[in-house]
Amino acid sequence: MIRVALPEHLRTLARVTDDVQLDVPPPVTRARLLDALEARFPVLEGTIRDHQTRERRPFLRFFACERDLTHESADRELPDAVVDGREPYLVVGAMAGG
């Protein structure tokens, strides 16, 4: 099972309190992971990627295994440690402040 860590506001929308466990058939890519996430939690449609373009919303980042995977292709396979559930896939709201 793949573990997805959502930012607090998306956890609230999805009504979960911890990492989300997803079963994603291989090949496990970001696009397929997000498809599975949105299928399980339709309220998240449009909150991580745009409805029409399917592009990442500009202020969201994707981290895993201490790497920034944000700018990798959505169709590239995710690291083995994410696929086998050893490491979570992190959806992160970009830092903002002032």
Binding site: H9, V43, G46, T47, F59, L60
Partner: protein
Amino acid sequence: MSRVRVLVGTRKGAFILGADGARRDWSVSGPHFAGWELYHLKASPVDPDRIYASQSSGWFGQLIQRSSDGGVTWEPVGNKFAYDGMPGTHQWYDGTPHPWEFKRVWHLEPSLSDPDTVYAGVEDAALFKSTDGGLNWSELSGLRGHGSGSHWQPGAGGMCLHTILLDPVTPGRLYLAISAAGAFRSDDDGHTWKPITKGLKSKGIPVETAEVGHCVHRIAMHASRPDTLFMQKHWDVMRSDDAGESWVEVSGNLPSDFGFPIDVHAHEPETIYVVPIKSDSEHYPPEGKLRVYRSRTGGHEWEALTKGLPQQDCYVNVLRDAMAVDQLDSCGIYVGTTGGQVYASSDAGDTWSAIVRDLPPVLSVEVQTLA
């Protein structure tokens, strides 16, 4: 005894304020949707427990929330606002063509007759409609495609459709306003539109009397006289007595005719309210005094309402959707500020008090009068 429920949208959540008809003791519920921008909340006039809310965030985009129990519980409904067909371009700030891009919902206007029908005014400017309680949204694209859309240009706050008025008398008639395209009217349920800007004059656009390009900030109507419209423009307070076919300026003796909201007394269709702001670059009250101005003559002659409002060192703004009136016999007026106060008057503006004082910046205020 009647009650009032005040729906307050802020930069960091929604708040619901409640009081009995005396309007002295207030309860505060919230924040709902903590941390999100709530541009607007509005209830159905035919089902007061049905409330729609526009929830958005720079990180996570747009959601629409719906309550069926007066704001106690909420459920997210549809958030897919897809422009009809190829959206084309409007003008960007530098005059170049820029693709139409959905950003957020500024205003929600529930139908006068059906609690499941609601209109949404969005940025980039377009009008959407749902007939299933907000689950699905369709663009009424006759507005964007009526001919002048490619010439519309955003104001500093974005190219937002922020005002939707539903005519309670003439079937199929709607009005709307867009910054900075102007005002429009439809007589066929929103399928086709015409600019209603004759008489408007705006400095800062190439042709001061152009058909489109005026930065209309807000339009208000009294239900008993829907052909009479009042407008707060970027500069100038205007009125029309022919359903927007022509406008005349009624700024009269206001200390500044720049401002954002305008509203009409619940029972006196010639009594109107504005909040003058110093200028387009200094978005705070003249002289640091927060004054609501009232005209009992439909404009031209205005009186300052100050009792209970801060009269020194006050540098807040009142945004376009942040003034509302209740329907009680002694009409209540409500004003929300960017400083987080909501001021209320239960005597048509003669005296005021803060019913809540330290909210996040207030984006919108709506009032329900409940049996």
